[in-house]
Amino acid sequence: MPKDSDLVRCPSFNQSLTLRNATRMISYIIKRLGLAALITVLAVSLLFLIIHLIPGDPVSTMLGPRATPELRAALEARMGLDKPLPIQILMFFSNMLQGDLGTDVFSGRAVTDIVFGQVPYTLVLILVSIFWAATLGIALGCYSAVNRNSLGDRLAGILSVSVIAVPAFVVSLYSLLIFAVYLKWFPAIGAGEPGDWGDQLWHLVLPSLAIGLSWVGYISRLVRASMLEILGEGHVRTARAFGLPESWVTYKYALRLAILPTVTVIGVGMGFLLSAAVFTEIVFSRPGLGKLVIDSITTRNYPVVMGSVLFSTLIFVASTTLADIINAILDPRTRTTK
C-alpha cells in the first residue's frame, strides 16, 4: 500500500495508472487460467488412473461383454496398452486435445460428436436455473436484509433453510407429480419442438425451477448475510452521513458489494447444478448430458460415459475460473497479489 512518503512525485505516475490496472488484470487472468489448466490435467489423469486401477483388463471393462475381437484390437491399439504407463497417459492427452475421445461402441460415431450434440440442452437448463436462482435469490436476500426481522424476513429465512437441502431430484419428482401429471399445467416430457422457442421455454419452466429452487434459498441467505454485514460497516454510514438517498445506499453502495460472494458461489455451484441436471433430465425425460450418461451406462457404452464425465468436468472447471475472473473484474481488491 502506498505510504505518505509517496507524496514525492513519481513522474510517470499519471500515464502508467491505467496501464497498471490493465496489466494487473491480465496477469490475474493468466494465472487463473493456468491453474484451471493444471487442475484439468490432474482431473483427467485421475480418471485415466481409475480406469487402469480397476482390477481386470481395461479393454474388457471399457467394452463390456459386447467386445468383438476387432473392437478389442482397435481399442488396444488406441490405448497403446503395451506401452509403459506414462506414454499411455500422454497418448490419452494428445488424443483428447485433438478432440478425439474415442468412438461409440455401437454406432462407431465419434464420442466427441455425440457429447457435443447433447451438451447444449444441459447448458441451457443450467443457465436458466441459475437465472431463476440468482434473480429470485438476490431479490429475496436484499428484501430480507433491508426489512430485517420483519415477518417477511423470518418466513423467508425458514423457507430458505428448509428448502436448501432438499435434493433437487425430489423437488423434480414432486413438481412433475403435482404440476405436470395431476394439474397438467406444464408438459411432463421432453424439451419441446426443436426450432420452436416458445415451446422449448415452456418445457424448461418446471425443470429449471426444480433445480433453481434450492439455490434460491442458498443465495438469498448468502446475500442477506452479506448485506447485513455491509450495511453495518463504516462506509455505509459515511454515505448516509452525506445525505445520499436510501435507494443509492442500498443498491449502489451496499448490494454491489454484497453480490460479490454470490458470483463465486454460482461458479462453484456449477458442479452441484450439473449433478442436479442429471436427475432432472431423467425425471423430465429431457435430452442432455445426464440422459446420455445414464443410457450409456445401461448399455455399457463405456467411451461415451467417460467422454461425458470428462466434458462435465471441463464445464465445471471453466465455470469456476470464469466466476473468479468476473469477481476480479467487479472487485478491484482481488486483482492485487499479496
Binding site: 490432474l42 480397476i54 433453510v161 431430484f169 419428482l173 450439473l274 442429471v278 436427475f279 431423467i282 461425458s308
Partner: protein, 296 residues
C-alpha cells in the same frame, strides 16, 4: 476466522454436551430438528423390529393399494408394504451415511491438519488434490465409477466418501491454519510439545465443533445422493429397499398412483429438514464460542 487465546480451551472439552443440549432445547427450530433426527435414528436402529411387514415379502394379491389402516402408506406394484420399506430404507440411508461421513471426516481431518500445520509445499499439494477431486461433479463421478465397477452399497459409500473429503479437509485446514498462529500454540511449542501432541490435544478439540456442524448439514446431501443413485438404479441393489428405489418405482408408476412417490419423498424431506435445523442450531452454539461471546 480469528480466534483469541482467551476463548479457546486448550484442554479437552468438558461436558459441553449438556451445554449444547441446553441451547438446542431453547431454540424452537433446533428442537424440532433434534426431535426429527432422533425419530429417524431410532427407527433406523430398531427397524427390523418395528416394521409391520417384511419389507421384501411379495404379496401380489394386495398390490397397488392406497393408504389404509392395514398398510399405512399403501402397497407397491409387488404388494410389498410401502411403510415397512420406508422404515427399512431409513436404515439403509444411515448405513450409507454414517460410514461415508465418518470416513470423510477421518481423512479430511488428517489431510486438513497436515495441510494447515505442515510445510507450504505439502499444503499446496494437498490443496491441489482437493481442488482436483472437487472439480468432478459428484454425481457424474459416481456414475463413472459405478459404470466401471457395478452398483453396490460399498461402491456408493466409497464414491461419496472420496468426493466429500475435500469439503471437510478444507474446513479443517483453514481452522488449523488460524489456530497455528495463535499465541497459546506458540507457547506450547516453546515448551517443546511435539507436533502430534499439539495436533491432538489442542487443535483437534477446537476443530470438532465446526466439523460436527458441517457433518449435520452434510447428512442430507449424502442421504440425498444415495437416494438419487438408487433412483437411477446405480445404487443399492434391489430388493433392498431404499428411498431412492421407492421413488424409482413411484416414477415408473406415476400415472397410476402418487403414493409411492409421496412415500419415498417425505422421509427424504424430513431428513433434510431435521438435520438442517439441527445443524443450524448447532452452528449457533459452536460459532459464538469460537469467536468469543458477544461479537456481532
Amino acid at each position: 476466522m480469528a480466534t483469541s487465546a482467551k476463548t479457546i480451551k486448550p484442554t479437552k472439552a468438558r461436558s459441553e454436551l449438556g451445554d449444547i443440549l441446553h441451547h438446542l432445547v431453547r431454540d424452537p427450530l433446533g428442537l424440532v430438528g433434534l426431535i426429527i433426527v432422533s425419530i429417524i435414528i431410532l427407527s433406523a436402529v430398531f427397524a427390523p423390529w418395528i416394521v409391520p411387514y417384511d419389507p421384501i415379502a411379495l404379496n401380489i394379491p394386495d398390490r397397488m393399494q392406497g393408504p389404509s389402516l392395514a398398510h399405512l402408506a399403501g402397497t407397491d406394484q409387488l404388494g410389498r408394504d410401502t411403510f415397512s420399506r420406508v422404515i427399512m430404507g431409513g436404515r439403509v440411508a444411515l448405513q450409507v451415511a454414517l460410514p461415508t461421513i465418518g470416513g470423510a471426516i477421518f481423512f479430511g481431518l488428517v489431510l486438513g491438519m497436515i495441510a494447515g500445520y505442515g510445510p507450504k509445499w505439502l499444503d499446496n499439494i494437498i490443496v491441489l488434490l482437493f481442488d482436483t477431486v472437487r472439480s468432478f461433479p459428484t454425481v457424474m463421478f459416481a456414475l463413472a465409477v459405478v459404470a466401471l465397477v457395478g452398483p453396490s452399497l460399498n461402491t456408493v459409500i466409497f464414491v461419496i466418501m472420496v468426493t466429500s473429503i475435500p469439503t471437510y479437509g478444507r474446513v479443517v485446514r483453514t481452522l488449523t491454519q488460524s489456530l497455528r498462529n495463535s499465541e497459546f500454540i506458540d507457547a506450547e511449542r516453546s515448551l517443546g510439545a511435539s507436533v502430534f501432541r499439539i495436533m491432538t490435544v489442542h487443535i483437534l478439540p477446537n476443530v470438532l465443533g465446526p466439523l460436527a456442524v458441517l457433518a449435520a448439514m452434510d447428512i442430507p446431501t449424502v442421504v440425498g445422493l444415495e437416494a438419487g443413485l438408487s433412483f437411477l438404479g446405480m445404487g443399492v441393489k434391489p430388493p433392498t429397499p431404499s428411498w431412492g428405489s421407492l421413488l424409482n418405482d413411484g416414477y415408473n408408476l406415476i400415472r397410476n398412483t402418487p403414493w409411492l412417490i409421496i412415500a419415498g419423498g417425505i422421509p427424504l424431506i424430513l431428513t433434510t429438514l431435521g438435520f438442517t435445523f439441527l445443524g443450524e442450531a448447532l452452528r449457533d452454539v459452536v460459532d459464538p464460542k469460537l469467536r468469543g461471546r458477544g461479537s456481532k
